[in-house]
């Protein structure tokens, strides 16, 4: 498998505090990687460096030319209708492509709506369509479901999983939700103290069921890496949730 992202000895400091310190990460083409980490561990910082939104202090970073980001908030332009938001910055005459992307996220009937009239989940789906319509080789997702309610979040996770299997971009999903990471990813990494302390392939068979023993075991291990202590019975309860 050829690589889409190659990061080595990456360092980024704010003031004299190194948020990323000697981080190595490789993502193959079409591979779905979930990055877990506690709040403030530097997940967004890494994603912003990969998306060329911020610079690194040291180390090497290689990414594909076409990358798109879905931010934690939808960031839609309020003065553009939904379709225009999807085709933003594309050359003229791409409305048909935009409509197809909207159909993929199930919003073909909202093409002429104003962003202010959308629900949180719909707005985030428009942001997803806007990221996919460019056919990115690398899709960067920064906690895109964090602001959504639990039910919408599950639906969005399925949608993202489906669309990524259909389009096969390399994906880096930043999240703090262990279940989400295990449900979707081919590989999960845990970011702690500036580097990846865990980097393992998810061996759970699809479709992934949180009740599965392999799922629960991986979940427990990841939580331990994140510094969360779980008793066996809480894991059982959590798994059924």
């Amino acid at each position: 498998m050829s690589t889409a992202v190659e990061v080595s000895r990456l360092r980024k400091a704010f003031g004299d505090r190194a948020v990323l310190d000697g981080l190595d990460l490789t993502i193959g083409r079409g591979e779905f990687v979930a990055l877990l980490g506690a709040s403030g561990s530097g997940k967004t910082t890494l994603l912003r460096i990969l998306g060329a939104l911020d610079g690194a202090d040291a180390g090497e970073v290689l990414v594909p030319r076409v990358r798109t980001v879905v931010f934690q908030e939808p960031r839609l332009v309020p003065s553009k209708r939904v379709l225009a938001n999807v085709t933003v910055a594309l050359p003229r005459g791409q409305a048909e492509r935009g409509r197809r992307a909207l159909a993929e996220v199930g919003l073909e009937h909202h093409a002429t709506a104003w962003p202010a009239t959308l629900s949180g989940g719909e707005a985030q789906r428009v942001a997803l369509a806007r990221a996919l319509v460019r056919e990115p080789e690398l899709l960067l997702l920064d906690e895109p479901f964090a602001a959504l309610d639990a039910l919408t979040r599950l639906r969005m996770q399925d949608l993202v999983g489906e669309l990524c299997r259909a389009h096969r971009p390399a994906v880096l999903l930043v999240t703090h939700d262990v279940d989400e990471a295990v449900r979707l990813a081919d590989r999960v990494c845990v970011l702690r103290e500036g580097r990846l302390v865990t980097d393992e392939t998810v061996a759970v068979a699809r479709p992934r069921d949180p009740g599965d023993a392999a799922f629960a075991a991986l979940r427990r291990r990841l939580l331990a890496d994140l510094g969360v202590r779980t008793a066996a019975h809480t894991t059982e309860n959590g798994a059924s949730a």
Binding site: G51, A52, L53, T68, V69, F71, E73, R75, V77, P78, S79, K80, V88, A89, A113, W114, P115, A116, T117, R130, R134
Partner: protein
């Protein structure tokens, strides 16, 4: 919607105590009959007119102070008939529109440059803020020396007066753009010019329209200043002449014309607010 379905649900079950429950009643905006708004808006001016007419009719207001409404209407007929009023209107409107257009363009451009680029801000903002505090009326003698008594001096005076309110409003509106939105657009490869046109300016529209309002008012004030001092045509010239003959009816006509300018300017901005920002009425 949820409330209604819940109510229907409880109505179906027999022995539920719903005695303390009420149907939620949202405050609805009742649709107004057509023309209602316009009628209500006209009430104030009509009352003023009535007061003026009553004061003249009872002799409280003598013609050497202010002519009666009937005299003013007669004066309008006279001025319109001999072509003085149409000529003056055309001259004055051309002057203030040209000056306003130049001023708005300059103010908008400078405002976007200083609001959106760091270099523009460092280079231009402090000098513009200094120039802004100079009363434009103090420029009249200087302009007379530079350009003589011609159209250029008058139009430039109006342009200078209207540049600054537009500049201040634009640059503050542009500065208030959500940086996250700009960053997102940049990440999708949008050029800086496209970002200004498609994201920054639409977002700054409320400020731009506030600037337009202020500039329009100032364009009329600057017009009066320019025409009062030295003119051979225009509403100001008409006023200067009327003043020397103590024709209070013509003076009243001119003042009313200025008032109408202001009213039209307000209507234009109201219309623009509605037409240019459809997304603002869509939100909740």
């Amino acid at each position: 919607m949820t409330a209604t379905s819940e109510l229907l649900g409880t109505a179906g079950k027999p022995a539920k105590d719903t005695g303390t429950l009420v149907t939620p009643r949202p405050a609805v905006r009742r649709p107004r009959p057509r023309g209602w708004t316009l009628t209500v808006r006209a009430l104030g001016p009509l009352a003023l007119l009535l007061l003026w007419w009553a004061a003249s009719a009872t002799g409280l207001l003598t013609p050497d102070v202010l002519a009666s409404p009937a005299d003013v209407v007669r004066a309008v007929g006279e001025l319109w008939g001999n072509g003085q009023l149409p000529d003056a209107l055309a001259t004055s409107l051309t002057r203030s529109a040209t000056g306003l257009l130049i001023g708005l363009t300059t103010g908008l451009t400078l405002g976007v440059v200083t609001g959106f680029t760091r270099l523009g801000d460092e280079l231009l903002d402090s000098s513009l803020q200094t120039l802004r505090t100079i009363p434009f009326l103090s420029l009249v003698p200087l302009f007379m020396v530079w350009f003589g008594i011609n159209e250029i001096a008058k139009i430039l005076l109006i342009a200078v007066a209207t540049t600054f309110p537009m500049y201040v409003s634009t640059s503050s509106g542009v500065r208030n753009t959500d940086p996250k939105l700009v960053e997102a657009m940049r990440s999708f490869g949008m050029s800086r010019l496209a970002i200004v046109r498609q994201v920054v300016l639409p977002g700054a529209l409320p400020s731009l329209l506030a600037g337009l309002r202020l500039s329009m008012t100032l364009s009329v004030i600057a017009l009066i200043a320019a025409e009062e001092i030295n003119a051979t045509a225009g509403i100001g010239y008409l006023m200067a002449q009327a003043q020397s003959y103590a024709r209070t009816d013509i003076l009243a006509v001119c003042i009313l014309v200025y008032g109408l300018f202001g009213l039209c300017a307000d209507a234009v901005v109201r219309l623009l607010e509605r037409v240019l920002m459809p997304w603002r009425r869509a939100g909740r």
